[in-house]
Symmetry: C2
Subunit: 606 residues, 2 copies
């Protein structure tokens, strides 16, 4: 199977550009694609809060309820604020577009970079947490967690390269299955809790290793902030919704937030009620499920559903990251290849790069979600704050109906997420958040350099009005030969058909052969002058290059055209039997100014 | 440090071709370079004989003396025969040249291939045995034997790339040191043995695991044949001696044989006298040295000298293998790159290939000389027999003074080495000798195929007397553009200066951009027709290739010239920011017939 056939089998046949319109998403499919990112975080958000609180002993765990409620408040604020953004920016683009329009280049780039880092982490964290859900249920797979995570990531990459609608269809069922079964657990658990029956309450008491300080509570809040990651995804992808795009996107945003809020608060309350504490080898959700369902078919269904939901959450980053990269590439902050549709109408390069970096993170952090989470959430909150701040500026300048209310909503969003950044940065800085800040600075610098480069290029190639670049004053045509044969004669004939002074040049490696060729040249050379170049160090290439260099130096207005007679073997493996001189010569001459290369091929038949 | 600077530091500055004459060797240096191969085999030949005999119990070891004497006889016969070859073929070349002149192509190729295999094994076996000498003295290094062997091989490669005379000087002292100290041991041991004093006789008796059959004795003889490997090296390298080449080479041959014979028979006699038996972790020579010198400074000096001698023996193969390869390349049996002098006046490619294969063998066989030795000696004896047989044919046809005597000498050589092949093949076939036979067949087939290919190529490019290949009937000049800028205009101007129909072609990736460019083209295009190519699958490359293919198919007499405007970045790392379309286009068009490529560069300054 050739690589091309393999590619077709994996990602499908190319799609025509004209088919692009049909790739729009219905609300049902869009909810599956875009919501898994945010909703799946309920699988680890409560656990991250408890992991911090338990440091202050079992009693401190009671703080998880007020902390969860504060996160819920954040969800409400973000939902309202983002619905306003969706209506104002039906083109999509989220933080970057909003900040660029209202705050300027630098904040926009910071927002974009922060989001991109977050998408990469979304893939790594979600896949790692999904594998944790699996290994909680099947502990024997624990040692293979990195391999399982990588397999899942590669699978998602391939699915995304096939195109966004198909991946939506493919992923809708498992997403809804995961949401449904988590809902069932919260429902049954809630009823049990209400009637005080069912589950056995955990009795082992953790001793405190830290005091219950304000700092610890803030750390717990910043750990819980992972619950809201992914809420911005819909605002980036408004364009992929069916018409009317904004209404559909806003409705989807609302459904998503309702599900997210209900599941998150439900799990937090149940965990608190049943006194569940985080364990090294089993997730909090898995413990809750065992308490609610017992370790039966329903328990395994829930673990499997959670895993699917998490692994597919990664998928939402695969929809968002390449889209953002393509917007940046269109604005020349990223290599232009990122803006090109692949042959399945998706931004293949973005998908590929995201996948590769996420795989590297899984390998480096041994597929451990807790190790990755401190890096997470920083980026997304920076982008939240920037887009909300951008909206505030927008309302102030644009005004329009009800602008005061809208200003207050976005203002609240911007202040609350800004506070969250300060909390996250202070409490997680030494745990890895500093890496994200350094990365943001580096990438912003890189993106600006890329734009500067593209600008420099376009200035250099720009045509000045009505001033055509001058033609070379003189053109010397060189034909390097190493014998007299059909390939050489063909090149010489081609060179003679050009205006300009034609010279054949030959490097004197072997004096006897040179003498013989000079005699043959007298017959076949059509009176063209044959220059013999000395070659004291037996390097044909450097003798030729020196000669060309000399010509160019002597006459600064002269261009040199080198006509290379290239003998091409009938089979590639014959290549080892021929000196690769033509190739080396072409590669060396390419980087000389005022040198034009002409390749006259002679194809061997056998 | 750039790769080029590193190369210069390792192998030295390039030497001029005119300096070639100065690289001739004096007898003293030539003996050091060429004799280490043959003489160093005394370090393991006796041990290999004993290893076979001991299978039939301690009593059978007595057979080592008559077996060693038979090997000594072989040394005498070969010395006389090879001196005749040296005088008859002052050009050098050994088995291949002699067999080619007198027996024809097939025997010559078999001889050459057999020798080449043997040179590779010489490097691997000698380095491995040298490391054994070291680890006999310093057992703690045993576990690092592969790494030590590889380091030594790389060192020899680098030294040889510096040029043959310098390596001769560098290696002369250790070679003579090794020979000298082995001579001292044989001398002192001989005196001790004569007066019946000194060493303690080993007392542990080995029980027989096999009967002392004729087959076992023949196996011991074939094991001992490793002693004569390397005797042919001088006859290959006559050209590198100072004038008079033949006399100097013949004299050197004699000295070498005298030293070889004396050391080999001395070690065998001493081993037999002192009852030394082969051990797994210590070489026979090391045991002998302990018995003769005690484990003092002299013992360590001997082990170190033996090691140096063996490692440098590999060096003689580095002089001989590239020389043979270059002769084969000149006769077109090997890729012509093998015949090119490198910039230090040595055949760099041959040195490099020999080194790499030897390193692979060391890794595959874990640096164990006993595992490599069964492969060894087959090849060299095939080449002995073929060159002696060739000389027999020569005397029969050429005659000349004393031809009958010379005929008898070479006849004896040919018959005795022929018998040795039969013995080696029968006794070692299943131990690995079969691999060598298969390899010989394969390589002979490969070499013949290479020659057939070169013949086919020269037939295809040959010019028929006074019949010049016809010029293309029509020439269409295409300029692929993706915008209107200085690079494109330069290419268009260049194309217009050519005779032929010029067309600009553009692939319609983005309809809006295409419309804009068409308007610009009206101003700048000089009335040249702009063809817009459809691009349903967004692949610029395949749209262009399809168009060229169409043109070629429609008119079989037409040639297509593609003028590529290539924007070249100021720094190579800018390359990632540009589509590599020019490169891909050039690579794809190169393999199309009737397509000439013109590369018009536009160099960015920043």
């Amino acid at each position: 199977m050739t690589p091309m056939v393999l590619k077709r089998w994996l990602v499908g046949d190319p799609l025509k550009s004209a088919q692009a319109g049909h790739q729009r998403l219905s609300k049902t499919i869009a909810l599956a694609i875009f919501s898994s990112n945010a909703i799946s975080s309920v699988a680890y958000a409560t656990e991250e809060i408890l992991l911090v609180l338990v440091l202050a002993g079992t009693a401190a765990v009671a703080w998880s309820i007020p902390i969860s409620l504060s996160i819920l408040l954040l969800i409400v604020i973000l939902t309202i604020s983002y619905r306003q953004i969706i209506y104002e920016y039906p083109e999509g683009g989220g933080a970057y577009v909003v900040a660029r329009a209202n705050l300027g280049e630098q904040p926009a780039l910071i927002g974009a970079v922060a989001l991109m880092i977050d998408y990469v982490l979304t893939v790594a964290v979600s896949v790692a947490a999904g594998v944790s859900a699996l290994t909680s249920a099947v502990p024997s797979l624990f040692e293979h967690r990195v391999a399982i995570g990588l397999t899942a990531t590669v699978f998602i990459i391939v699915m995304n390269l096939r195109g966004v609608r198909e991946s939506g269809k493919f992923f809708a069922f498992p997403t809804y299955f995961g949401i449904g079964i988590l809902g069932v657990m919260v429902g049954i658990g809630g009823i049990q809790a209400f009637f005080g029956q069912g589950a056995s309450v955990s009795t082992d008491h953790q001793t405190a290793v830290e005091d219950l300080t304000l700092f610890l509570i803030l750390r717990a809040i910043s750990a819980g902030c992972t619950a809201v990651t992914g809420m911005e995804v819909i605002s980036n992808g408004v364009k992929t919704f069916r018409q009317p795009e904004s209404q559909n996107a806003a409705a989807t945003m609302l459904y998503m937030s309702l599900i997210l809020g209900a599941l998150f608060i439900g799990i937090s309350v149940l965990a608190s009620h049943f006194g569940v504490q985080p364990k090294l080898d089993e997730t909090v959700v898995s413990q809750l499920a065992r308490l609610t369902f017992g370790t039966g078919a329903l328990y395994y269904a829930l673990q499997f559903g959670t895993m699917l939901l998490l692994v597919l959450a990664a998928n939402s980053a695969f929809a968002a990251f390449p889209q953002l990269a393509s917007i940046l590439a269109r604005d020349r902050y990223m290599p232009r290849q990122m803006a090109t549709f692949g042959d399945r109408l998706v931004f293949s390069n973005g998908i590929f790069i995201l996948g590769v970096i996420a795989c590297l993170l899984l390998i480096i952090f041994h597929g451990d979600p807790h190790a990755l989470i401190p890096l997470y959430a920083v980026g997304v909150f920076i982008s939240f704050t920037l887009s909300q701040a951008g909206m505030v500026r927008r309302w102030l300048s644009k005004k329009g109906p009800h602008w005061q209310t809208k200003l207050i909503v976005n203002g609240l969003g911007s202040v609350s997420t800004g506070i969250a950044i300060i909390i996250i940065a202070t409490t997680k800085f030494t745990q890895g958040a500093w890496i994200v800040f350094v990365l943001i600075a580096l990438l912003v610098w890189m993106f600006r350099s890329i734009r500067a480069h593209y600008k420099a290029v376009s200035e250099q190639v720009a045509l000045t009005r009505d001033h055509r670049p001058p033609l070379p004053r003189r053109n010397i045509v060189l034909v390097p030969i190493n014998g007299v044969n059909q390939a050489v004669i063909r090149a010489v004939d081609y060179a003679r058909s050009r205006p300009g002074e034609v010279r054949a040049v030959m490097v004197d490696v072997d004096t006897q052969a040179t003498a013989r060729i000079q005699i043959q040249w007298a017959q076949w050379g059509c009176g063209i002058q044959l220059t013999i170049l000395p070659c004291p160090y037996r390097s044909v290439l450097s003798s030729l290059l020196d000669y060309v260099e000399d010509l160019l130096n002597k006459e600064p207005d002269t261009w040199v055209t080198v006509v290379i007679p290239e003998i091409l073997p009938a089979h590639w493996w014959h290549g080892v039997l021929h000196n690769q001189r033509a190739l080396l010569l072409k590669a060396s001459l390419l980087f000389k100014e005022r040198v034009v290369l002409i390749d006259v091929p002679f194809h061997l038949k056998r």
